[in-house]
Subunit: 414 residues, 2 copies
Amino acid sequence: MKSEIIAVGSEMLTPHRQDTNSLYLTEKLNEIGVSVAFKTIVGDRRKDIVGAIQNALTRTDIVILMGGLGPTEDDLTREALAEALAVKLKRDAPQVAALHARAATWRISMPENNLKQADLIEGATFLDNPNGSAPGQWLETIYSGYRKIIILVPGPPHECKPLFDDECLPRLRDIVPERHLARRTLKAAMIPESQADKLLAPIYTTYTDVETTILAHAGDIQLTLLCTKKNKDLAEQRVEELATKLEEALDDWMYSAEGETLEQIVLYYLGLRQATLAVAESCTGGMVAQRITSVPGSSRSFLGGVVVYSNEMKTAFADVPAELIKQHGAVSSEVASALAEGIRKRTGATLGLGVTGIAGPTGATETKPVGRVYIAVSDAQTTDSFERNFRGSRDRIREWASQQALDLVRRRLI
Amino acid sequence: MKSEIIAVGSEMLTPHRQDTNSLYLTEKLNEIGVSVAFKTIVGDRRKDIVGAIQNALTRTDIVILMGGLGPTEDDLTREALAEALAVKLKRDAPQVAALHARAATWRISMPENNLKQADLIEGATFLDNPNGSAPGQWLETIYSGYRKIIILVPGPPHECKPLFDDECLPRLRDIVPERHLARRTLKAAMIPESQADKLLAPIYTTYTDVETTILAHAGDIQLTLLCTKKNKDLAEQRVEELATKLEEALDDWMYSAEGETLEQIVLYYLGLRQATLAVAESCTGGMVAQRITSVPGSSRSFLGGVVVYSNEMKTAFADVPAELIKQHGAVSSEVASALAEGIRKRTGATLGLGVTGIAGPTGATETKPVGRVYIAVSDAQTTDSFERNFRGSRDRIREWASQQALDLVRRRLI
């Protein structure tokens, strides 16, 4: 079955705001075997909404209208739908009572206008919205001789998503032919994009019944495998089979088979090895520490870090000899190693990580371009230093460098 | 004049990918006085694209088709437009030659299929695309008796945006009645949302000819004022007038009148006062340092920082007395002050910043809930400590805390 999502709201036709609910609804619809064939964004003009609804009804089976259910004059979705179907709106007495009760609970006065939210499309039923005052509506109807499902959901994400999950999906599951979805998410770090393509495309393109989506960002690749079938075991078997082949191809580039973040995996291995980590960052400026500490409970394995921008700070907080900086430059393999060793010894951590580089846009020298980064990992036995060259903006270079740094720690631990 | 943007591509109907070009195009269109009345997203199915184009032509004056201009079998925008208008596609000889020349420069072989990109809609002209192989197309035509402009632009953002700027906007400016746009962006930090509404709405709602957009995120509020008029001076005067009133109302909550980030402003004041800053972070885990170092040239005023998660690190790197932590707890006003003073003295910075708190989801105590954060700012004369309580997820609390910390530094400097 094909669906269309219509997002109603003039703010989504400005340069500043985008419809994001539809990504969530799309995921949930796909899971039960409903595809999204069109998305339309329309402003708060009644005539435009009426037209958009009629278009949608001519080309899809399920139409989801999102937003425009509130109490203000700009909220016109109910009125527009009634006009598009040439049916009446009827003010629902129990819903009026519910609105009054809600206002009483919140100890707020209720303007007359609020009662609009109790207006029910002829033939529709209300969908309970525990997170807001405007209920959703569900309508099964015949349009130009075809059976259609029309769903009204509120716009605010914290109202829309639970209402869709709790009220709409169960009803849709009863109507849509039963399908089972199997899904796996694999993640890999620092694999060159061209290599990933060459390695993976010949494998996943042969699985035409599994939808493989690849998202890449700053050294992080996420592969999502989705298979929808009538037979649940068969769907899972197909995804498993493909996942196994992709895992083999990804080899040790792969860090997660269940969708964890790289920082979660690093912390997982640190816990497993009963090891601790401390970091000394220059060009990443705290980004590595910030990523690690974004994980709840990271304090068990992460002792802390220093952001040592100046040469003096490198010496004062990570014991990098001033002489070494003078000799090799602050951005050098030697200083990266000294940062890693210094912070490890200073903190008593099992592992020390050092990052120094040129994030740009200025700071390049004759021998060291913008994007040159040195990363070192140190434990009691050895210190290894790596040279990398990243491209792009200051932000991109810092993101790539923090990703590479975390991945080098992971590789030391596995 | 009203426009519709149609984004073509099945990937934008998945849960993973969204059209983002349209935000950019909307901004540029609004600047010349063209509103966007609808956005449609349609997959790579010819029939669907034809229908979407015909819908758009019945309801708007300018239709922009984005994507589906490449060489693959899925690229169907040209064919669909020809069908929708019942006109022919003609392979353009000079464009074929250009494609061959391009392939030769890149030393790549050119499959026959690539030549599709030289197919021109009857009556259209090509729009030069220096960043890709598929040129855009520009068509002025009559549809059902009305004059319409139809524009084809490539989908990849780095091709779409420059082509739209260089080839489409000048042509549109010649056609659209001349309008001038005046714009101002004001930014404010840490103003309570309810207060912002109460303070600002009565002011900006009286300026019905100025469009005021408010975006709020984790203690940061951005107000964009836009006014489009035939008379340039009048547009600027209206925006200035409103901006002045809003600036007065925002008082010292406002940190930028030109759209700078809070970290840029902090660095600006540090430079102005010839002051330097160093930070000691616990719960924000490097987020403050990372935000500051995201600004190019930050090394001139930012000496560096420490991420001191454990009590031992607080003592070792910021000289917080172990006794003090024992007495008041690591999350306390006293420890925040000691962190700020300690890092200031250790680094010789003019200003020291200390942050300690409970980011959650665990770590709350009987007296200190998740979200409790202490922030201290220290200079040679005084150390001030502030208690705050933030709500939301771990990420949200860390974002609010870093915003509050930067704003307290700003307030110390102004």
